[in-house]
């Protein structure tokens, strides 16, 4: 390992310990690491977007003499420059145009893809032959259908949750609570995994104590 590799590992370890020191209390080491993180993060995105998007995608297409639609990316470039006017108070209103384009494009796309994939396909998956397969499959299918239906009943707030309707909504809440519990369990798993990665770096890569 060369000098820069070793120096890099020590620097990374110092930064890691600086961030972890926040667990004791907020301190200047943590604040310094946080500032470095913010600046480096902004700079990283700045560079990646320049080389990958602006140079590799926009510039190569816009200046390619064999590209018959070379003029098309220039419209996007103009919209992009307009969005930067937001930095200046006097001409900041010009940024509404590219913003409106983004919002409109996303609204148009999402309207269809969410309706198809997250509504229609999910509804058609729920309307399934329940009494097929083994008794385990029958119970599972019935539970999925019942749970989806009752969960949707709970989200229907135009009618008071009373009587049979209220009973179904209550069952829906139970299913939703189980869903949130499962999400919480997976969230704990995810957060612990993040820390495990850092411990592997500190005690493995830096200190060499882990095989």
């Amino acid at each position: 390992m060369g000098f820069w590799d070793v120096f890099g590992i020590w620097l990374a370890s110092a930064l890691t310990i600086g961030i972890i020191s926040f667990l004791y209390r907020d301190n200047i080491f943590y604040k310094a690491c946080e500032a470095i993180f913010i600046g480096t993060s902004a700079g990283y995105w700045f560079i990646i977007l320049y080389w990958d998007n602006l140079y590799r995608k926009f510039w190569t297409q816009a200046t390619d003499p064999t590209n018959p639609e070379w003029y098309v990316p220039w419209f996007g470039f103009v919209l992009g420059v307009l969005i930067l006017t937001r930095l200046f108070n006097k001409i900041g209103w010009l940024s509404r145009w590219p913003l409106a384009f983004i919002v409109g494009a996303v609204a148009g796309l999402y309207m269809m893809i969410y309706f198809v994939s997250n509504a229609m396909v999910q509804v058609s998956s729920t309307i399934m032959p329940v009494f097929t397969g083994s008794w385990v499959d029958i119970i599972a299918n019935t539970t999925v259908v019942l749970g989806t239906f009752c969960g949707l009943v709970y989200f229907f707030f135009s009618k008071a949750h009373t009587g049979v309707f209220g009973g179904a909504a209550r069952v829906g809440i139970w299913f939703l609570m189980i869903t949130f519990g499962a999400s919480f369990g997976y969230t704990v798993m995810s957060r612990m995994s993040l820390m495990i990665g850092r411990i592997d770096f500190l005690f493995g890569t830096w200190l060499g104590m882990i095989r």
């Binding site: 301190n27 990646i48 590799r56 969410y114 998956s125 997976y186 592997d200 200190l207 104590m209 095989r211």
Partner: protein
């Protein structure tokens, strides 16, 4: 800075320097030492339970120390753990097994360094499997850090199996197209033409000059797709556009935070087809995939630490609730 903060900082630095200079490398606890540590931890939890039961909650820093110990010490223990394969992980492996050699796989790396402990091990396992079975990989990313994480996964695969480095050639066996901003609009455009979104690869080699991408113009020319995702844009967007609109066969590896939200895509629809072929969920999913590919690596090593951490959290929740019920009973 106050004196106490300086002392604590000094002690932490001394601890790590002592570990660096004086600890055995690598360090491994014997079976009896591991069992003793577990008993000591259990005794500490009993002490916390008694204290909490008496209405004296322990401070948050003590909880942090318990969690830290539960995460760190298992790294030095060796306990064989049973690992069952879940059906959604088995589906991913079965789908890959069915691919003939020279099949083209589109691998989308949609995650950043914070998610690497969960996703990097499964990415490395996937790369090793793909190169060993002569599958061709087209790498891209909807997150800017994705292509770099892909590169690291490839380098790690080469380090673990040096023969793969001799066997594989950039541009012929794999290519890295890099990142494009545009979120789901990138996927939408790729459905028509990969070249329009990626006119060149990471090294600015024009799309048409890359041998692997000859005859690859859009999703219909790709045999399979694998998505490693930590959030948005990610698996959900790939399902919504690439699968439901362009019928791309897709499997995914997700962080554990996102995995529960992806389960509805695993169910068969009215046409008998699943939106998502299979799912590797979190570190556990990565470990199961490593077991299936018969190459246990990082994810499998991390599982013992993960297990201890989960037990610690469960015990803390139980202790807190016992104290709560006792207090409730006392008030009645």
């Amino acid at each position: 800075m106050r004196a106490r903060e300086l002392i604590v900082s000094g002690l932490i630095i001394l601890f790590f320097l002592a570990c660096y200079f004086f600890s055995p490398k690598p360090m491994e606890f014997s079976r009896s030492t591991s069992v003793l540590i577990i008993f000591l931890l259990a005794a500490a939890f009993v002490y916390v339970f008694i204290r909490t039961f008496r209405g004296r909650f322990i401070g948050r820093r003590v909880v942090f120390i318990f969690v830290g110990v539960a995460l760190v010490l298992p790294f030095f223990m060796k306990f064989p753990l049973p690992l069952q394969i879940s059906p959604e992980v088995q589906s991913v492996y079965d789908a890959l097994e069915k691919l003939p050699p020279h099949s083209k796989i589109l691998a989308s790396f949609d995650y950043d360094p914070p998610s690497a402990p969960e996703l990097q091990p499964m990415a490395v396992a996937f790369m090793k499997y793909a190169f060993e079975h002569d599958l061709k990989i087209i790498i891209m990313g909807l997150w800017p850090q994705g292509p770099q994480q892909a590169d690291q996964a490839i380098q790690a695969a080469f380090i673990e199996n040096p023969d793969l480095k001799q066997k594989t050639k950039y541009g012929v066996d794999y290519v890295n197209l890099g990142f494009q901003s545009g979120y789901e609009f990138v996927i939408l455009q790729m459905g028509q033409s990969f070249k329009s979104m990626f006119p060149a690869d990471l090294y600015n080699t024009p799309y048409d000059s890359i041998p692997l991408l000859k005859n690859v113009s859009n999703f219909s020319n790709v045999d399979f797709s694998m998505n490693f995702s930590a959030g948005k844009p990610g698996t959900a967007e790939w399902v919504q556009i690439a699968v439901d609109r362009f019928q791309l066969p897709l499997a995914a590896g997700n962080t554990a935070v996102q995995a529960p939200m992806i389960y509805p895509y695993l169910k068969k629809g009215s046409k008998g087809k699943k939106q998502l072929i299979g799912l590797l969920g979190g570190m556990a999913g990565g470990a199961e995939f490593e077991k299936l590919t018969k190459k246990p690596a990082k994810a499998t090593t991390y599982l013992l630490s993960q297990s201890f951490a989960h037990v610690a959290v469960v015990i803390f929740i139980i202790i807190g609730n016992v104290a709560f019920f006792r207090e409730k009973k006392g008030k009645k």
